[in-house]
């Protein structure tokens, strides 16, 4: 079936179900950013493969919302589909809620699978559009997708407590004391990474994210873990039992919630939990509606996690530096975006503890560098030439941590503008990494540092400067971030704390010309405590040189050059013992003081 046929099949089901609108978000049942194959209904129905997008199908028309990263790609992929592209944030383009308001009225009914939308979103719709009937129990997209992949059920493995830094029992004890403080008898964890972190378990149900499909319901005396029974080995199941974790069927969560005693005091973040969970609660349940304590506990890395991240970044830095050496000294003859990415993947695979990529590698040559979330495919794969930039944003999952790094590499002679903008992005990157700030600051207080060299020139980049990074978990995690605009949900603008890991990745994108992005992961650390307060700073975890060929030293202040030189010296001293003599010599030259 082509896309219009799929949409027509959906419309037939919509008529049967008596809904005039059907909503297909990009989500699994856990609010995950990246989803398993079973959940790619929006992609199946629209043909649009980007990682973010929401499809609304009416009986005559259909619309797909996506953000600036994907405007070009979505326009191309929606051609001939009959689906109208809604460019989010552009003037005159209605929001999803705005469009639903316009389409609501007598007889209008919106169907969706209540497991794929957050309770907060659906409750908000109910409040804002009382005239729109909601039918939240319709998995129509699944019905019209004959070859839909089954739910993933890959094996779960246990993370050694020495690597995790805390035993499962210790983590549960801390969580329960926080529940008690809040007066909550039960706590529902709908998010896959929170469950994995809390229980020291890892899985493989979502590409690049070592999580497994589950819900967890934490009580004083037990934890019920709702997941496919066969993904646990007998030994692991025993170990869980010893820690009071009972295994229950994945879909059993809804029945369990419906069976809660009346008046139960439940901690459930309606921004994270899906609507079907919320709708299963007995009337009279007292809900503490805010982020669970696991969000913060997970984001503040303990000593073992930090140590592990350092190890992972050492190995990752070795692989990436070998890759840079290969590109800069071996020439690019015969290489393409994809084959270059494969070389890097090979080098990572040669490192101890490497498990796989932490996200799909962005290997973007020349004009492709200006497409923020470009990922090469055989159809788009550009041959590399000995000029302009190759932008490589990639990362790995290691046994002891998660990496995410971007380098923009001069493959040959650069234009003055290329060097000028590379230098401006680098200056912003270095300024943010060097920030010293009082505890209490959020990323909003610091984002200016990364953008200032661009804003000065009337330039900007249309994405956040930094995101939190998980510990052998999702490469994007909250609540820490570096952004200049306020988050829609204030809970997402967290105070930065020692132990948090956040990316520092300013960029610049000139449509049809080139793109530059430079990214290290920064560990937040305490620098001093005085009578004026606690002061924090950052320490770079990422180890790889910036490209001196792309830098205009005259456009940097002496302080900025000193920051770069200090970082480069650290990179050289840490990596050199692990490189071949030729690689080390090359790295030494690349990291000489500017």
């Amino acid at each position: 079936m082509n896309i219009p046929q799929r949409i027509e099949a959906l419309r037939a089901r919509m008529r049967d179900a008596q809904v005039s609108l059907y909503l297909v978000p990009t989500s699994d049942f856990h609010g995950s950013e990246y989803v398993g194959e079973h959940f790619k209904c929006r992609e199946y129905l629209s043909g649009f493969t980007g990682s973010a997008g929401t499809l609304l199908v009416g009986l005559e028309e259909a619309w797909l919302w996506t953000d600036g990263r994907y405007f070009l790609q979505a326009a191309r992929q929606l051609e001939g589909s009959g689906i109208t592209l809604m460019r989010m944030g552009e003037e005159g383009v209605p929001t999803l809620s705005g469009q639903l308001a316009r389409l609501s009225g007598p007889g209008a009914a919106l169907g969706f699978d209540g497991r794929t939308l957050s309770a907060r979103f659906v409750n908000g719709l109910r409040r804002q559009l009382p005239g729109l009937a909601l039918k939240p129990d319709l998995d129509l997209a699944g019905e019209v997708w004959p070859e839909r992949p089954a739910l993933s059920r890959r094996s779960v493995w246990e993370l050694d407590a020495r690597i995790a830094g805390r035993t499962r029992a210790q983590k549960l004890e801390q969580l329960r004391s926080q529940m008690e403080k809040e007066g909550a008898e039960l706590l529902l964890l709908p998010c896959l990474d929170e469950i994995a972190w809390l229980l020291n378990l890892r899985g493989d149900d979502v590409a690049c994210c070592p999580v497994f499909l589950a819900y967890a319901l934490v009580e004083r005396e037990r934890v019920r873990l709702f997941a496919a029974r066969e993904i646990f080995s007998p030994e692991l199941a025993d170990a869980l039992t010893r820690d009071g974790v009972e295994l229950c069927p994945y879909e059993g969560i809804f029945e369990a919630l419906r069976g809660l005693p009346g008046g139960s005091r439940l901690w459930l973040d309606s921004a994270a939990a899906n609507y079907a969970l919320f709708a299963s609660l007995p009337a009279g349940t007292h809900v503490t509606d805010k982020p669970t304590p696991v969000v913060l506990a997970k984001s503040v890395k303990n000593e073992a996690e930090i140590e592990g991240e350092r190890t992972a970044h050492l190995y990752d830095g070795i692989a990436l530096t070998k890759f840079l050496y290969r590109l800069k000294t071996g020439g690019v003859e015969g290489l393409t975006e994809l084959s270059a990415a494969r070389i890097l993947e090979e080098l990572r695979r040669g490192q101890p503890g490497y498990l796989g990529p932490s996200f799909e590698t962005i290997s973007a040559y020349g004009t492709h560098g200006a497409v923020v979330h470009y990922a090469p495919t055989p159809e788009t794969d550009l041959p590399l030439e000995a000029r302009s930039f190759l932008l490589v944003d990639s990362g790995g999952q290691y046994r002891t941590g998660t990496t995410d790094v971007t380098r923009t590499i001069a493959l040959g002679p650069l234009t003055g503008q290329e060097r000028q903008l590379y230098t401006a992005v680098l200056r912003g990157h270095l300024a943010l990494a060097a920030a010293r700030f009082r505890q209490g600051c959020t990323g909003r207080n610091l984002d200016y540092l990364a953008r200032a060299p661009l804003w000065e020139k009337g330039l900007d980049y249309n994405h956040g400067t930094g995101h939190g990074v998980g510990f052998l978990l999702n490469v994007h995690e909250g609540p820490n971030n570096i952004r200049w605009r306020p988050a829609q949900n204030p809970a997402d603008d967290a105070v930065l704390l020692p132990g948090m890991i956040t990316s520092d990745e300013p960029g610049i994108y000139l449509d049809g010309r080139f793109g530059v992005r430079l990214e290290n992961l920064l560990l937040c650390t305490q620098t001093q405590r005085t009578e004026y307060g606690v002061f924090l700073g950052f320490e770079p975890l990422t180890l790889a040189p910036f490209d001196r060929q792309a830098i205009l030293p005259g456009e940097m202040t002496g302080e900025e050059r000193a920051l770069l030189n200090r970082y480069h010296q650290h990179v050289y001293e840490t990596l050199a013992p692990h490189l071949s003599p030729e690689e080390a010599r090359w790295l030494q030259a690349e990291t000489l003081p500017l």
Copy 2:
């Protein structure tokens, strides 16, 4: 009567009125920061003269909350009063709401004058403490204050439309179109500066603030201005009538609100309007509860207002520079904090259009400089010596604008630490003034710039970096500010817009040693508009040299010295033609490039 006697007299009235608690905030009926003499009940009852503080009197105990600026002063002034000082923000010190929660219970009743507390605060109490009975109609403080000054009724004068930049009619037309957009038939203005700005009127009912006591109720066809009839000349009353402004008795506002037709659609900001106003609304009134459009319109200065501010700052800069010349060349023999302040006031009075100070001058020598809001009195007045710093924070109301400026002046040799910290504060001041940022930023995005040189050293100052400034109005006005912490009320963290005037005043305060604060007013301007957005910056309005004797040039980067040199050149070129030859020569030397 001494303070304990006054408190006892109040308790007798409390028993009569059957309340166990009585609350006395620092406020008039309009939420003003500074209040007229009639409203200084908290000062009368407690003896504490600071500008911020809240007194809660129980039948046995009494408590006074104030902030860090006033801890020392309040501790001294409350000695022997029987009132417990509650240091706001200190660990273990309950908040006012926390204390009320502890004291509420069977039989507890809280009395207050509902005109002196905001509707939002009282409604919040009602929600949070359903067990606490509220008696909001008790002006007991007034009853026990025999010699209480009458309400001020000083003459109102009209601001020429050429100075205001818009006629009253134009401003009303704009406001009404905004009301219409919001679907509001009526709009209540409870704030004195909003009324003065909207109607191009100025008064003299609050020291240093050219406002007059009034409420205004704006409708489609008329404005009812509730104020003492005798403060308007017949000519002014006629002019107002021509613009559809009806004069009504000051206290008539409550009756007018009670008489609104059922179902009226009224715009009223419950954070600004007092509770008695809110309580006067007929049931079923539809309230649009958010800041009035006047707040933003007033903060974004029009071309005439900006031109006027430039003129005011020129005159103010001349006076201040003459003062600096006098101190730096004439020696400080025989001078004190107060007499120095009088010299400055004399010099301002010699300038065209000067009306008076815009706030009480802070003239703080040596150790007094560390007391953030120190104002000298005959009892505390220190003689100046030829060493250390004199910190002078002062400002003027002029016919065409309001100024606010702080200079910290080396009266003789300085210690290394004094110069080091002066330089750090100056670096922060200059960095903020030089910010270039995308429209959409608030002060939270920029505050880091002012604090970075201190935070680097583990130092900080315990106040905001900047506040909005009115146009021939209050020296502190919202919604713009520069702060790093989020405001309690998000509406107070406004996006910075071209035309807004904000202070830039970092400082450092070493208890028992000295203080440094450096303040210019900055006009926000558009610097460029590109495909990436609209970019803004600041232009300093204040004209006066910084003290080169206090600067350690070696601690500044080349860029920072260039910023200072550029500002100093601008100060010299603008002021020199208005100074005597000796003053100009001195200023030239003071502003030579570093």
